[in-house]
C-alpha cells in the first residue's frame, strides 16, 4: 500500500500504531498477546525505520518497566497488551504514576478473567484501568469506538501523557482493534503534538518533582545537563525519599488532583441526537457502534433517543452525565461486562431516573437489537 496515501482501510490496531508514530513515540517494549499483537508487529517494523526502538521483553512486567525507563531517558514510549498482560503491568503502572513518568499503555480488552476467551472481545477492564494499581491516584483512560478514533485518540493519549506527566491508558477492545475501516492518516502539522515541559532553571536548582504553577513539574531526561532522581517510593520535590506525613499527604493528593483539576481539558464526550431526546444511551468503545445503530432504529419507530459517547472514561464525565440525567426520562448503559460504567452513571444520577444496563459477557458484541429492545421497554413505561 502506498505509504503516502492519507486515506487507508486499516485495522484499529494498525491505526493505534500509526497514531503512536504520529505522536512522536519512538520506543516500544512489549510482550505478544492476542488481540493486541498487530501493534507490536507493526511497531517492530516501523520504529527502526523512524529511528526508534522496538524490544520484546520477557514478560509484561519487564515491558512496562522498559517503557518507563525509556521515557525517563527522553523517548516517548508505549506498550500494547490485553487483559492478562494488563494485569501484569499494574505493578509498574504505579511506578509511572508515582514517579510521574509519561507513557501510553494500550489495552485491547478481551474476555476474562484470567486467560478467558483469548481472541474474543469484552469491555470488562474499565475498573481495572481506573484502580488496577494499588494506592490512590488519578488516571486518564480514553476509549476509541472507530478506527479513526484509534488513530486520533492515540495521539491525544500521548499528548495528555506528556502534558500531565502521567501514564495514559488507551482502553480499546477486540472489536475496534481488529475491525478494518476507512481512516484518514492525518499529515504532520494538522494535529497537535505535545512534548513534556523542560526545566528552565539552573541545573543546580532543578528538582524533578517541583511543580510549576500549573501543577506539573518539568521533566528533564537522563543524559541532559540536569541530574534527575526518579522513584516509585514516597519522595519530596528532590526525588529523595521523604516519609513525613505532610509530605506523603501532599504528593498523594497531587497524583489525583493534577488529573481531577484538569477535567475540563481531559474529559471528552460525543453527543448524538441528544437535543430533542427523551432517552439517552451512555456508551463507550465498541458498544457505541451498537448504540448508534439502535438509536437510528428507535428513531425510525418514533422514539426520541440520543447517545452520549464517553470518549474519556476516566476521569469520569460527572458533570456531563449528571446534566444528562436531569433532562432524560431514562438512561440505558450497554457494556460488554456485568456493569462497570453503569455504577458511575448511577453515582451521579441525582435526578433518580431509571438507569438500565444492557450487559453481555458471552464474548459476542451487543447487537443494536438488544439495545433497541431496552429502548422500547423504557419508552413504553415512561409514556
Amino acid at each position: 500500500m502506498n505509504p503516502n496515501n492519507s486515506i487507508r482501510f486499516i485495522q484499529g490496531n494498525e491505526a493505534i500504531a500509526e497514531g503512536a508514530f504520529a505522536a512522536g513515540a519512538r520506543f516500544y517494549a512489549g510482550y505478544p498477546i492476542t488481540p493486541s499483537s498487530e501493534i507490536a508487529e507493526i511497531s517492530s517494523r516501523r520504529l527502526p525505520q523512524l529511528g526508534g526502538l522496538y524490544i520484546q521483553m520477557e514478560d509484561e512486567i519487564g515491558s512496562i518497566a522498559a517503557v518507563i525507563g525509556a521515557s525517563a531517558s527522553g523517548k516517548k514510549s508505549y506498550t500494547a497488551t490485553s487483559g492478562p498482560g494488563f494485569s501484569l503491568m499494574q505493578e509498574n503502572l504505579g511506578v509511572a504514576v508515582m514517579a510521574e513518568i509519561p507513557c501510553v499503555i494500550i489495552d485491547i480488552q478481551r474476555s476474562g478473567p484470567s486467560t478467558g476467551l483469548a481472541t474474543k472481545p469484552a469491555q470488562a477492564d474499565v475498573m481495572q484501568s481506573r484502580w488496577g494499581t494499588h494506592g490512590d491516584h488519578g488516571i486518564i483512560v480514553l476509549s476509541p469506538s472507530s478506527v479513526q478514533e484509534c488513530f486520533d485518540l492515540t495521539i491525544t493519549a500521548f499528548n495528555f501523557s506528556e502534558k500531565y506527566r502521567t501514564p495514559v491508558i488507551l482502553l480499546a477492545d477486540e472489536i475496534v482493534g481488529h475491525m478494518k475501516e476507512k481512516m484518514i492518516i492525518r499529515k504532520p502539522g494538522t494535529y497537535d503534538v505535545t512534548d513534556r515541559k523542560q526545566p528552565a532553571c539552573d541545573p543546580a536548582d532543578y528538582k524533578p518533582f517541583q511543580a510549576d504553577a500549573d501543577g506539573i513539574a518539568p521533566l528533564a531526561a537522563y543524559g541532559s545537563r540536569f541530574i534527575v532522581r526518579l522513584t516509585g517510593s514516597t519522595h519530596d520535590e528532590t526525588g529523595f525519599p521523604n516519609s513525613k506525613p505532610e509530605n506523603a499527604d501532599k504528593f498523594i493528593r497531587h497524583y489525583t488532583d493534577k488529573i481531577e483539576n484538569n477535567k475540563d481539558d481531559i474529559v471528552m464526550t460525543k453527543e448524538y441526537k441528544l437535543e430533542d431526546a427523551e432517552f439517552a444511551v451512555i456508551t463507550f468503545g465498541c458498544s457505541t457502534r451498537s448504540a448508534l445503530e439502535a438509536m437510528d432504529l428507535a428513531r425510525g419507530e418514533g422514539i426520541r433517543v440520543g447517545v452520549l459517547q464517553l470518549v474519556t472514561i476516566w476521569p469520569f464525565a460527572d458533570s456531563q452525565v449528571r446534566a444528562l440525567c436531569s433532562r432524560m426520562k431514562a438512561i440505558i448503559v450497554p457494556e460488554m461486562n456485568l456493569g462497570q460504567i453503569i455504577r458511575e452513571v448511577c453515582r451521579v444520577n441525582d435526578s433518580g431516573i431509571p438507569v438500565i444496563g444492557v450487559n453481555k459477557v458471552n464474548s459476542e458484541a451487543i447487537t443494536p437489537f438488544e439495545i433497541m429492545e431496552q429502548i422500547r421497554e423504557v419508552s413504553k413505561c415512561r409514556k
Binding site: 526502538l53 514478560d59 512496562i64 531517558s73 537522563y222 532522581r229
Partner: protein, 282 residues
Amino acid sequence: MPEMKYDDYLVKSRMPLFWCSGCGNGIVLGAILRAFAKLQLDRHNTVVVTGIGCWGKADDYINTNTFHGTHGRALGFATGIKLANPELKVIALMGDGDGATIGGNHLIHAARRNVDITAIVVNNFNYGMTGGQYSGTTLEETYTTTSQFGHIESAFDLCRLVEAAGAPYVARSHVLNVIQLEGFITEAIRKKGFSFVEALSPCPTHYGRHNGMKTAPKMMQWIKENAITLKEAEKKPQAEWENKFVIGKFTDKESVDYSTRYEAVMALAEASVSKGVSEREG
C-alpha cells in the same frame, strides 16, 4: 569536568547510612563509588537503577541520575533507560532477593540479550528488609525466619547462572576482599555489554543471627573460610569445592552488545524505506 573523588559521588547530606551495623552494603557502595572515581564517570551521563530491599536503598546515597523502581524489576527499567539513550552508563544495583529471586527471569534475559548494563548484586543470603526470610540464594540447611527447621531448597549459583545465560562479564568476590571487588566492579562498568558482579556480604542482623554469626566480623570470617578462588577450584575435584563460594572472574569475553546490534537493524529498516518495500499483510 573537574576531577571527581569517590566521595564527590556520595550524598553526604543523607549520612549516616540507614543500613544496620555491620551490614556489608556500605562496603560495596564504597567500592562502587571508588570505581566511579577511577573511571571519572560523568554524573549527568550515569544512571544508577535500584530495585527494592536493603541494597535497593543504595541510590539514596549516590548523586548521579537515579531510578528507584520496583522489587525485582531494576533490569527492566535499566533496559529501557539504556536502549533509549545508548550514551548513558547504566548500573543496576540489586540484592539477592530482588535481582536473583523475584527478578531472576529479568536477570537471565538481560544477560542473554547483552544490553550494556552493569548489574551488581549484593548477596547476603536472605531478605533483610522484610525480616530475614529465605531467598533464592539461602544455603541449604541454614536457618532463616521462614526456614526455622532448616532450609530444604538449594541455592542458586548466580555467577554460573548468568554466565550460562550468555553475559560477557561475570565475577564474584566478597566484601572482605574489597580491593578485588572494586577491581571487578571497575572492569564490569568498563565492559561493553551485560556485566555482572556478585558481592557476598554479611547480614549479621538476620542471616547471621539465625546461623550462629551475630556479628559482622564473624559472618565475614565465615564467608572467607568457605571461599575458594576460581583458580584453586579448577585444580581440584568438584566435590572439594562444590559447597564453597567460588571467588573470581568467571567470564570476560567480547560479545557485541544489543545497542550495537540494533544499529544494524535500523540500517536495514532505513534501507527498506528507501527501497519502498511494501508492507506484509496476512
